[in-house]
């Protein structure tokens, strides 16, 4: 029997933070990762390859597509990172409605592969449900999270510009990355045209624009998701894991699929977890006083659904009837792009792993639309490379010489829209379908509804209008449709709230029915806002860990 002070289920962005905070506060902690070990630098096998060192020059093979039927539908399937995604055929899921689930089953999870965009929420977001009378209110406000945003930004390293915007609070930023010629002019023209009410700013990303202890600054290679040999961006491996290891109190166990949380109904507390070893299929049990569930939004719900089923058939946290419901995402695949003429004598140097951000402007400060909530845009400007379609060119030396020079400047933006929480957007256990380990799989049943569809129309039209106002020509706009999960921001399956009858977690991310179980990944979200969510998961995790240790010392949990 192995006993720890704390168990952390999952090693991604929020799991890494839980491990760091709990160990630094003195708790002997085991972090359980269902996939393989993935060591910092050593296992970043492609990160220093040149383009010509890749046998398929970036493309996945037919065999890899067969092994990855879900990720194979997405832009995530590339030669460099295909092995970092879960092998889909080993762990299928059921699609009542189409669902693209981006999973990484290895140490660090999606902290290695993430897009690194890092934005604070504001009270515009935390008050949104209450203001609109939609779903349930968040049990916290910006002031509750603000010191924890400070805390995580300082440690993780987030670059950005201070803008003084109420809807997108400034943080503790490293120096901002630079906009290029065209982006600067587009930003200025949008500001002028919309009289200072719309803001195109440089993206805020978790790349180091200045070194911080133990990590080298970003080298502008733009190959983050292969793993950075410089530790130039935030990942579990570059950031939280070394800190947790340094305490001497962390144990990491890969190949550990947590199948259920063990629950003592007399004490109304969890006592530990049961694990199946992904390599040997042997079962192990680990005990602890505190359990942090950070398996990623949908898998955290899956663990809860499989726990304490002798008391609640729907699993631990299901007493409210909300476990697995209110699945959200950010809907995108809608935007506009075009050509900017007149900058043929301008260029840039380096590959910026970041873009521009157009801050939300819909439905606040007097603005009113025919739908609730809002959206932001991400994008950028660049000169075309050899991949451009040169319609008038045929073959031969002329084609070659043309393609050795940069092409025209193009500008593109794509929207990220808020998806409302709907009770009927849900995941359930499909007990008839089993994965490689004989475990029941998830069934996905979530879709965009009228509010999102109206918003998408607006996202497309506004994108076009803003680029047009900025002088972009040959405009093209699109709505390629969105299946829930496409945004890679799935969330909401075990929401926080003020009332155990309508929520799974309380204001401190404790499961109402087992107060020593904390869920601090995307599962806990009560609404989705439109900002990229990872920074908020980090802050919520650090806050909950602090609370957990305080409560533990008081003897309350």
């Amino acid at each position: 029997m192995e006993t720890y002070d704390a168990i952390v289920i999952g090693s991604g962005i929020s799991g890494g933070w839980a491990a760091k905070e709990l160990t630094e506060k003195g708790l002997r902690t085991i972090m359980l990762e269902r996939g393989r070990n993935y060591e910092h630098i050593k296992d970043y096998k492609t990160a220093n390859k040149n383009p010509w060192d890749f046998e398929h020059r970036g493309k996945v093979t037919q065999q890899e597509l067969k092994d990855h039927p879900y990720i194979g539908r997405t832009w995530g399937a590339t030669e460099a990172v295909i092995d970092s995604w879960a092998k889909d055929v080993d762990c299928p899921y059921t699609e009542v409605k189409p669902f693209n689930w981006w999973r990484s089953y290895q140490l660090g999870g999606r902290s290695i592969l993430w897009g690194r965009q890092s934005y604070r929420w504001s009270d515009l977001d935390f008050e949104a449900n209450a203001r609109d009378g939609w779903a349930i209110d968040w049990p916290i406000r910006y002031k509750d999270l603000e010191p924890w945003y400070d805390h995580v930004e300082r440690f993780a390293g987030v670059n950005g510009s201070k803008e003084g915007l109420a809807q997108l609070p400034d943080g503790h930023f490293l120096p901002p990355m630079e906009m290029n010629w065209v982006e600067k002019d587009v930003a200025a023209r949008i500001k002028e045209r919309y009289k200072g009410q719309r803001h195109m700013i440089i993206g805020r990303s978790a790349n180091l624009t200045a070194p911080i202890p133990g990590r080298t600054q970003c080298q502008f290679r733009n190959r983050c998701w292969e793993g950075c040999p410089f530790g130039g961006y935030f990942s579990t491996q570059s950031s939280t894991l070394p800190a947790a290891v340094a305490t001497g109190k962390l144990t990491v166990r890969p190949y550990s699929i947590v199948t259920r949380i063990l629950y003592d109904k007399d004490k109304k507390k969890a006592t530990g977890v049961e694990v199946v070893d992904a390599e040997t299929n042997l079962t192990y049990t680990f005990y602890a006083k505190v359990i942090f569930v950070n398996a990623s939004a949908l898998n955290s719900a899956w663990v809860l659904m499989n726990s304490a089923t002798d008391i609640w058939p729907g699993g631990l946290g299901s007493s409210s009837g909300e476990l697995g419901h209110n699945i959200m995402d950010h809907h995108y695949n809608v935007g506009a792009s075009g050509v900017m003429e007149g900058y043929e004598d301008k260029y840039y140097y380096g590959r910026r792993a970041n873009g521009i951000y157009i801050v939300r402007f819909a439905n606040f400060f007097g603005d009113k639309r025919d739908y609730l909530r809002g959206f932001g845009y991400q994008g950028g400007a660049s000169r075309e490379g050899w991949q451009r379609n040169v319609a008038e060119m045929s073959i031969g030396a002329g084609l070659k010489e043309t393609l050795t020079e940069p092409g025209q400047w193009t500008v593109g933006i794509t929207g990220f829209g808020e998806l409302l929480p709907y009770h009927e957007n849900k995941i359930t256990l499909d007990k008839d379908t089993k994965d490689k380990w004989g475990l029941p799989v998830l069934s996905m049943d979530a879709e965009l509804k009228d509010n999102e569809k109206k918003m998408r129309k607006d996202m497309q039209e506004e994108a076009k209008a803003m680029l047009e106002a900025a002088g972009v020509t040959q405009l093209r706009s699109w709505d390629n449709g969105h299946h829930v999960g496409d945004g890679i921001h799935e969330m909401g399956s075990a929401r926080m709230g003020n009332d155990p009858k309508t929520s799974v977690l309380n204001a401190h991310n404790q499961v109402w029915d087992a107060t020593n179980v904390f869920v601090t990944d995307g599962a806990c979200m009560t609404s989705s806002a439109c900002q990229n969510p990872s920074l908020t998961y980090m802050a919520l995790t650090a806050r909950a860990a602090d609370f957990a240790v305080t409560e533990l010392k008081k003897g309350n949990i």
Binding site: N50, Q63, M177, N180, E344, I395
Partner: protein, 193 residues
Amino acid sequence: MNRRDALTRVGLILGGTIVGAELFLSGCTNPPATVLGGAGTNFTNDDIAFLDEVAETILPATDSPGAKEAKVGTFMTVIVRDCYTEADQKIFLQGMQKLNDACKQKNGKVYLDSTPDQRHDLLVALDKEQKDYMAAKKKEDPSHYFRMMKELTLWGYFTSEPGATKALRYVAIPGKYQGCIDYKKGEKAWATS
């Protein structure tokens, strides 16, 4: 039972003619002619030499190396073998022979025996053919074989070491980002983005 019998029987079982069977059968009695792509995706050295020369005509050596030096022929065979669907493989493989046949028809000799100018003129014509086809085709229709060859050539060349470092500018570790620098006509584009 010899090969002819076997093929005939298969034809009977399927209740029809085997497409290409005549060509196949004639190969049994006549001296075997080299069929480009005839070994399927086990590409032969002849296939690679042929594809190298097709690629070289698309992107010839100028003041920077050409596609042949960048080993684009080999690259094409790797991608077609590992990354193409079976349907696309078939189009590509048959396309190699079609290209050679078109050359015979136009120049009276196979592609490798043709002069650089003859090769160039042929591929200009095929490029026009593929553009017309691609513009007219339905979305679900397959690509034109020469479209595949041209795309593979550009992709294989500009991601190769000679292509990326001599025809373009490649910097493995830029170390910084400068969003606003001047550009003078003639300067190379960055190899990666």
